[in-house]
Symmetry: C2
Subunit: 206 residues, 2 copies
């Protein structure tokens, strides 16, 4: 195997970290290349040396963010385990994944809002969007078996997604309104892993 020339990535990594922060705070349009350069401790010219333009830089950041989110959700949705276990795993894993990058949901929903078709094209081309079909089927089967109450599978899916994702979208509001710090928010979300799963199962089980 040929020896791979190890390009020095320290500057590129500094840029990506800085860009991530600025894009999260300001969004694609609000972000300023100067701010990214400042936060990376370099100048604008070097930014353009590494990434030809702003759009390309944003795409790298966005696909990187999407890449650490969607494939893992897909895995949960595609795992063939009993319904209750799938619910528990989704709450546990999803909240854990996002807790490491709480900005992700709002960031992603904004990009979808800006260009829904473009988003789906980008994601499907690169990694495939998580499909909840198996989850919906499992719900219908359990209803037919009579092990859970009659409920619209789509509504139940929305409930699950809502309760796992929404608190992260609302995080800035929760922090300022409930006067929480990062530690306290993290603790509430940790608690939520078990609470949401139990809340759902309590509601649907017969």
């Amino acid at each position: 195997m040929a020896k791979v020339i190890q390009k020095d990535k320290s500057t590129e990594e500094k840029i990506l970290a800085a860009a991530k922060n600025v894009f999260i705070r300001q969004g694609m349009m609000g972000a300023r290349m100067q701010d990214i350069a400042d936060e990376a401790g370099i100048n604008k010219a070097l930014l353009h040396y590494y990434f030809r333009n702003k759009e390309q830089l944003f795409d790298v950041i966005f696909m990187q963010a999407a890449g650490q989110l969607f494939p893992r959700i897909r895995m949960i949705f595609e795992s063939d385990v009993p319904l209750f276990e799938m619910i528990e795993r989704f709450c546990e894993d999803y909240i854990e994944i996002i807790s490491a990058n709480t900005y992700l949901p709002l960031f992603v929903f904004n990009e979808i809002n800006r260009d829904p078709a473009g988003f789906m094209k980008k994601i499907n081309g690169a990694m495939g969007f998580p499909k909840p079909e198996l989850f919906l089927q499992k719900i219908e089967k359990e209803i037919k078996k009579g092990t859970i109450k009659k409920i619209s599978p789509l509504q139940l899916l929305l409930n699950l997604l809502s309760m796992c994702i929404f608190p992260f979208v609302a995080k800035p509001l929760l922090l300022v309104n409930l006067q929480l710090d990062e530690m306290q928010f993290r603790a509430i979300m940790d608690q939520r892993k078990k609470d949401v799963a139990r809340f759902i199962i309590d509601s649907i089980k017969k």
Copy 2:
């Protein structure tokens, strides 16, 4: 009573409608005055004649949006009715209010994310932010009375807010991914008014 000189509002209204659309799609920073002028069918100069600058125009749009949302949520949270009824009223009223302006949640959360302290100051100065204290107290009382299961009041509040608000944040994703049109989305949200309330009550009642 003196006769009020009726200023012609048709142009101003066209501007406000156009600005709302552009700010929703692009956000405060992404919005272009030219785009707003185009959508209103006028030119930039006239835009500046009606609203001195972009920030002022955005503030009008934002406070208008907030004004049709927060006071009504306050009323629900402050109404002294039994817990289950409050849950039912919240689902019914909140989903109904937002259905008329589905863009509101994402719009508001973005502004909070951009400047949390500034947001609270603006809202509290103008109309007061909805306080869920009464709701939280009612939950604790019902737990003590033994009429509902033991549950963290904060987590239950988060569940309620999540399930009512999140689908609107995720609307662009739902439309493109589930291939829904506006009518179908509206129907699902209508169904949700009753479904979410029942889902919650089923989960907590003993």
